[in-house]
Symmetry: C2
Subunit: 355 residues, 2 copies
């Protein structure tokens, strides 16, 4: 009976396999690219000071947060939409712009929610292979047809850590016809240190049909609270705000995000730990003779030349949770979050023991 | 240009007008049916004790909360889905079951999100008038056509406070053909004291095609956190869990809801304050010669025989925020949340002064 009840496309929705959560305090989790230093202390202080308002509905538009972001970016609140995590913003994009049967260009080996929201609104995903583990923007532009409506780009890419640069993006955008919206998911862009990384805000200011997505889940350490934001020109942004439920962002997330933006010393320290950790891990992986991809994010994608699902289980037994990339289409690769010095050491020791 | 970008139905989405939030500490808000006693103290304690996990993604399935609810209800976790507020669950229902062009039966003068989610997924809302300010289940059953897919019922109804009883619901369900899902939004059911209020969980246990929605925003005092749940048989519930984004419910809401369920003394006191407040308000409104509707919820709908939008502004100037019901299609009525004794007195004094 439910077979006839349910919509046709629902059975095709990709299931999301989350990072395993530790069940023992000694176990370390390097599986979900969370901040190993925890949450911004200023954010936690702000939450404590807001607890008496837990019973009150949040501000429908997250106005204070939009104001703060806008002034940082030289934009206005009309350029911003706040979501219950940046994945919810992907859903808004499909809800507002994707008509049934329209095509959506999505890379292979990338974040699965692009496909999820596409199917949820009866769009047709078209998958473009990676080239040397990086987005192949040339192939994306060749795949555009008159039915193309949305293009999802992840920069840096989750789970490979590769990026495309400003010149490549501009060259690509020049080939995208009017009426196609390009979404640039920059969940990990805070970690990049590439001087030629796209200056994506400029594209919004120039009036391009792009939507930039960012999150407080990674560098700011607020994954548990669910908050991210989208940036686009007002003519696009207006519709994203129209398709959202009124109280999509909880009050504690709003207040925490606002405070985390001001927490310069925490952000600086988090970046420093990440950069030092990457350096250490690169060297150790080299010494182990393993192929890995230099990363612009807070994780490293490693070719372990073995079934990642098995290595995952063996490492978990030894107290380290990493992410096997089987569900990302890379069955012999793992993704490890850059942790604290101690966590990175334990990861390397465990990897050595298991391989 | 955005005109051709955006989906056709988006411009028809009803805008939600939230309760105004006070900008001055002396102003009292009786506009959004929040708990006047605040949040469950046990919930706030649980939040404080979970703050160190703010940086970690929440449990994808809200499993601990589902276990607790299931054991209370004599159900299993497979009967439950947890949402970012119960309004998100309405969206899941449309996402999972509503094909474009299918009809959805919705009452007039009720919660606007039923229409919102219907239009979001290209359904066709059919509106059924209230009868004596109550749901007209007879008219609902007569409006069913072969194109009907979903029926949204709100019990007790927001904003009138009326309810339909167990016998009426059963009589109605007997006339609903297979393949039509009946959603019963019980956001306010915790407050009812009617001995013939529907025993809706029994319907799920009997395998009926119903989905019950409940929330932690009202009696439990967690509106700011965004958490609600849906109850249905596993064959239906399965699909609701498939259309949700993995981390839709934030970690602090999960932990707070779990603790609030155990906070018997807070819940008892909240009900007591509500019952005493209703009694007081009924008497005062009678003395003022105003028509009001006896309520099974934590609010009262009052016919003020004047433009509610104007009365709203005048009362706000005097420090009391109520809800004018213009956007609910009742332009001469207001909805007031039952507050504390002091708040109720201030409301009556202000209403007297303004009318």
């Amino acid at each position: 009976m439910p077979k006839k009840l349910v919509k046709k496309n629902i059975e095709k929705l990709p299931a999301y396999l989350p990072g395993e959560n530790p069940r023992h305090p000694r176990v370390i989790k390097l599986a979900s690219n969370e901040n190993p230093l925890g949450a911004s202390p200023k954010a936690l202080k702000a939450i404590r000071e807001t607890l008496h308002l837990t019973c009150v509905y949040p501000d429908q538009s997250s106005h204070a947060l939009k104001e703060s972001l806008a002034s940082r970016f030289g934009l206005t609140p009309q350029n911003l939409v706040v979501g219950n995590g940046s994945d919810e913003l992907m859903q808004f994009i499909a809800a507002a712009f994707l008509n049934a049967g329209e095509e959506v260009l999505i890379s292979e080996n990338t974040f699965s929610t692009y496909e999820f929201v596409t199917r949820l609104f009866d769009g047709v995903p078209k998958f473009i292979p990676l080239k040397n583990f990086a987005y192949d923007l040339e192939a994306f532009s060749e795949a555009i047809t008159p039915k193309t409506k949305l293009i999802f780009l992840c920069n840096p890419n989750n789970p490979t850590g590769t990026y495309f640069d400003d010149a490549s993006l501009k060259k690509f955008l020049a080939k995208v016809p009017k009426g196609v919206i390009v979404v640039i998911d920059e969940a990990y862009s805070n970690y990049n240190d590439a001087s030629d990384f796209p200056r994506s805000l400029d594209l919004v200011k120039e009036g391009k049909d792009v939507i930039i997505l960012r999150t407080f889940s990674k560098l700011f350490g607020l994954a548990g609270l669910r908050i991210g934001y989208g940036i686009s020109k007002p003519e696009i942004n207006r519709y994203l705000n129209m398709v959202k439920l009124p109280f999509n962002v909880n009050r504690l997330a709003q207040t925490a995000a606002l405070a985390a933006l001001e927490d310069a010393s925490f952000l600086k320290k988090s970046l420093q730990v990440n950069n030092e950790g990457k350096k250490y891990l690169y060297q150790e992986l080299k010494d182990l003779g393993l192929d890995f991809i230099p990363s612009q994010a807070n994780f490293i994608c490693i070719n372990i030349k073995k079934k990642a699902d098995l290595v995952f289980i063996e490492m978990m037994r030894d107290g380290v949770i990493i992410r096997p990339l089987t569900s990302y289409g890379l069955p012999n690769a793992i993704r490890v979050t850059v942790g604290t010095k101690e966590q990175n050491k334990k990861f390397i020791a465990t990897l050595k023991a298991v391989l």
